[in-house]
Structures are given as C-alpha cells and as structure tokens.
Symmetry: C2
Subunit: 405 residues, 2 copies
Amino acid sequence: MAVGAVSRNPEGGPASQQAMRRQNLAVVLGTIAGQSPLSGLSRADVAGLTGLTRAAVSSLVDELIGRGALTEAETAPSGRVGRPGRALAVSDSGPAGLGLEVGVTHLGACVVDLRGEARVWRRVERANAGRPAGEVLAEVAALGAEAQAEADGLGLRVEGRVLAVPGVVPSAQPGLVEHAPNLGWHAVRPADHWPDPETVPEPENEANLGALAEYWQGGHGAETFVHVSAEAGIGAALIVDGQLFRGARGFAGELGHIPVHPDGLPCSCGSRGCLEQYAGEAAVLREAGLVGEGDPVALLAGRAGAGDRAALRALERAGRALGLALASAVNLVDPDGLVLGGAYAELADWLLPAVRAELAARVTVRPWPSEALRPSLLGRRGALLGAALVTTRQLIADPTRLPAA
Amino acid sequence: MAVGAVSRNPEGGPASQQAMRRQNLAVVLGTIAGQSPLSGLSRADVAGLTGLTRAAVSSLVDELIGRGALTEAETAPSGRVGRPGRALAVSDSGPAGLGLEVGVTHLGACVVDLRGEARVWRRVERANAGRPAGEVLAEVAALGAEAQAEADGLGLRVEGRVLAVPGVVPSAQPGLVEHAPNLGWHAVRPADHWPDPETVPEPENEANLGALAEYWQGGHGAETFVHVSAEAGIGAALIVDGQLFRGARGFAGELGHIPVHPDGLPCSCGSRGCLEQYAGEAAVLREAGLVGEGDPVALLAGRAGAGDRAALRALERAGRALGLALASAVNLVDPDGLVLGGAYAELADWLLPAVRAELAARVTVRPWPSEALRPSLLGRRGALLGAALVTTRQLIADPTRLPAA
C-alpha cells in the first residue's frame, strides 16, 4: 500500500513565503498572458481578476517588469472611454524559447517570445534517415545558432532549448533518445554530439510537443484530448487535464502500432496489421501510386484536390484505419476531443470523412459528437512550435527563473 | 490557456494548522497501516519513519486512538528481544466500510474493517437482468442491512457505503447510474429507490472498484496498470500513478468495445468485431458449446480442466482477442502491468498463454516482459471488496472523518 508522503516544508519556515510569492508571480503573469493582448489590463484589473490586493499586485507587477516579463504602456489600448490606469502586457522582447527539430526529411529551428509568438522560423529539407546522428545534430545546432543570432537582433534572449525528435525519450532518462526508428538512431544523447556545451537542448518526442502546442495554442477548450500526427511514422500523444500523459515509462501514445487489421500487412516492427501500414506516409504514398519526391504531403494534397482517384482511395483507406485506431483510443481513454495534427491536418479534407464514419460506427456506448474530431490549425508547425513554447511556458509558470533586474 | 488558481487559503489563517494536523494524522495512520500487522510499531518507530517529533507523534497517536482508528497493545508482538515500547496497530473494531454489489447474476454485500480485512461477506445468486431497478435495489439494500447487522455484532461501525454496478457513472453526476446495458438500467439513481435514506450508497462502476481493490490489496508494486475483468460484459479500468483514471467524463476503460476484428461479428452496441463478441461471457460459452446455467465460470473452468476441446478452443480464442485489445492498451497508455481480474482471473490458466502470445507479437516497439501480465489474486471478489475499501481508504486518508472520542 502507498503511504502518504511526510508533510514537512523542505525549505524550512521562511521559504514558504518565497514559495507563496513565486506562486503569486505566476498567477499575475499567467492572468495577463491569458488575456488578449488588446485587453490592456491595468494593475487594478489584475487585482480584480486574481483576488490579490492592489498593493500585492503592484509589488508583483514591479518585480515582473524588472525581470523583463511584463511591459506597462502609458495608455490603455482598449479604446474604452475614460478607462484609468496603464496597460500591462506580456513582453515581446527579452525572455524567449528556442525550439529545434530533427525530422526524417527536415531540420527546424524557431524562437518564440514570452507571448508565445514565433519570431524566428527556419526549416530546411534534409534527408536525415540513416545519417550519423552526430552529423545531423551538428547541422541542427548550426541552424539553432543562426536562429538565436537572429533573435538576438530582435532583442530576444533565449532562456531554454528543446529538441523535437521522432523517437522515444524515456521518462527515467531525460536527455536520451532511446530509439528513433525512422532516423535509425539508437541510444543517442544529443549532449554527446553538441558542438557547444552551453546550448545543449533537452530532447523530447515530437508527438508530445505537437500535442502540447495544440493545447497551448490550438484555440479550443478541451483539457483531455488525443493528438495524432504523422511524419514518416505516426505519433500520438495524450493531454490529460492539461498535462502531457507519458505513461509509466514515457512510451504512451504509440498509436502507429495499434493492430487495426490483426491478420493484415506485416509491419517493420515485427507485428502485423499495425496502423502505420495503412495510414503511415509510406503506405499512403504507395497506395496512391506516388513516389515520395519533394514534399510528399503537398503532392498528395495536390493530387487529391485534383480528384485523382488513386490518391482519394489511399486517403480514404488511411482515414478508415485511423478511425479504427482512434475508436480504440476513445473507448479506452475517454478524451473530450481528438485532434489530427502534423501532416494529417494538411490532408484533413480527405481524411476526416472516413475517420468520422468509423468513429460514428464504433463509438456507440457513449455520446460522441462528430465535431469532437478536428484538424489542428498548427499543422506541421506544431512540434517545432511546441519545442520552443516549453521554455516560455515554464517561465510563465515560474517567473523567478528569469534573472532579476 | 489555463490560468493558475489564485493562492489563498479558503479556510483562513487558523485552518492551515488544522490542515497540517489532518495531514499528519493521515501520515501516522497511513504509516502504521502500511506495515505488516506483525511489525508492532512503537510511537518511537513511527517518529523515526515519518520524521515527525516524538511529541507530535504521541499527540497524533492519542487522537487516533480516541477516534477508534488505532489500538496500542501492552507488549510488542514482534518477538524481537528487549524491544521497548508498546505496539501500535490499526483497529480491528470500530470504523468499517460497507460494500454492495449488483451484478447481472448476483447480489453482494461485505464489510471491511479499517485494516482492510473482509469481516462479513455475503453473495447470493439472482437473475437481475431486465428486472425493475427498484426491486433489485431493495434486495441489495436488505442484504446490506443484514451485513451491517452482522458487523455491528462484531463491534464494527459502518462509516460509508459504496455500490458496485456494471454500468457507467458519469464523473459529473455522482449518484447516477447513467446506463447499465447488461442490467437494462437507464438513468437509475439508487437514492430514488433506497428504502432507508440514511444508508443510501454511492454507486460506482464495478470495473473501477475491481481495479482499486487490486491496487490496494493485489500485492504488487505497479502504480500504473490496466485491470480488465469480465462478468456479463467486459470492463477495464486504468490506475495511473496510484489513482483511478476516469477519462474526461467517466467513460474510460471501455475495452469491451475496442474493435479487434473490424469486419467481424456484429455487436449489440451496433458496431462490429468488438472484443466482447470474442472474449465476453456469452461469446465464450457459445463457442464452448455450453449453456450458461449455474455458475458459468466454474462450468467453463471445469470443462477446460478436464481437457474439453471446445472449451479450450473457446478460451484460446478469447485469449487471442483479449491480447489484441490489450496490445492496443499497452501501446496507447504504456502501463507497468496488466491484470486479468474478475472471472478472467479464475480462467487465467487457459487464457494467459494466448494473451501473452499476442502481446509478445504485437508489443514490439518497447520492452514488454511477459510477467507484466498477471491474474488477480482477488478474482471475482475484487469489485465488492473494492466497494467496501473505498470507505476505509478515505478514513485512513483523512482520519478527521472519524468521530472524535
């Protein structure tokens, strides 16, 4: 049986006031970050929204301005007549997050400011499958350095780095990419290959980052949802009550190897009938009679948009298989919503009808509104954006990580 | 975006000391409850284990004795020579929990003491499918009253009541059994039918209770596991980090309607190829050529044990289907373990080989040791036991719920 943890303040007596102030800094900054930039909250507004006293809010706001997290403009931009006070806004310069991405066919780097806006965005096509990890990592590091230099020129200061990878990062071993099958990586530790020890990023599974970006910026209210995306492989991630759900060891969300046709096509994983054999990129291109040159997603979308029968049939078949796998996910996990992200979002026009038909047929023991499945607005930008946002979200959750004035 | 909740103590200043004392009472009681009854902890031992001062422990222990949660014997039963002090133990009289169960073919009632021991156990066979809910509930209420009377005679005092049902209890509507298909219940509120308003139980899904019982008393270390059980239907539940995972609306764990053969047998839910059509009780009995008279699980086990080919084939087929569905669960949720509970536990000898074979073939992208799947030791007792344990676990987590001396 689990025994409750002993209740003692690990920081001793005075520290509990520090913890309270840290939390209140996060509440004030989170409140302002949660409003539209046009709302122009005054200090008094923040006091009203948070329930903190005006004096406390003023002291907290002063500290947040000192740490570069907030700005305070002379007049409120809301246009409401006679509105007193000055308008607070999350800073668009200073603290920033750097996101990096190693995909199977591209590299990426982006910088977001504390408002969550992408200010620098770089994506280059590269065939990374089977290349030495050190070579790939050196290239993405160089791309990141370029992005950071550009961000410096915009008055942004990178405070943290996260690297999106199409592989498994075990919960117990942060810093390690245990396995990235479509890259051919086994037990790769980016820190071992990074040119500058000062800028080593934390690796994270790209499906997880795509789901987090969707939660933070997808513009919908679901707190518990399954996000499924595709690049070379299929990745899913679960957001539960607003938190990433990693499973016992960090392997959760392996939707691509759910058996959808138990006696079906052999899969590279050694099993049969896995979703990836029906809805993975290679399977869809093969079924559509296409060779994956240039941007295969754009190629597929172009063909399907032009009414090409083979492309439409391939996408319909992929949608059926996705619907089967997602029906299992809905029955097991009971999410509020399902999101088609990554390349699936860009193919949603042709995938959605088949996915919705399968869900309607197979999710019958509970209400399942068809609009609970929707495409992501972030598309293939999600994972890289999520990698950059991890840092800024951490800063908003704990502004004391920012250097004091 | 989610804005952090404002940090203010809702109970005002002095209440935080009460909260601290409440938590420390739980730590002390939980520590003693977490030890073997034979270990005979002294007050000094508890201080050592919890990090609380001896003076604090003594005051907390005195209060817990006064509330009837602990006893203190004159001598330590550990047998260690020269060991000083008196031995503390969780009380085997006084506070208790009543569990009730409405199954498709039985009713049950049990009482557990604060140690988690079942002291009263009643189970009667009843064909409940299609009978008026009020009639069934009146009968289980009568059975509960008998059990409670017997518990009174043992010096036990029922402090809470939970009713296990093979149906859905939405998170947002506690007290309501929204749908129990195998009973024929729709929108049944036990409180509306209960003869005595003082003893109305809280309904809960039986699969959830079986999983909780497994977590509390199954005797294994997994904190994140999937528990699958079968009565007339198939129910699964997820324990995540030691907590029941209900999903967004309380529907999580609907393993019985995962599609295992997409174009397979029609299911009563309106879909096709659901697990229930291959591994549900009716399907297995049909495949084994048996008519469900008496105890169908014992009948099946008897036939299989005697080498009956049809029974063995039916169980092998059920095991294959279960393995397929559980492969999806493992790929999605990444549990530490899988537990076959309920009737499946009693048929494990014949199910396990096929389930393990499917898992070995289909869970390939991560390590999956075959012993991570195991039968529950609680078998068909799990749900009823879990219903009774909910109350005693709540009392241990918050001893201030017990009346003070």
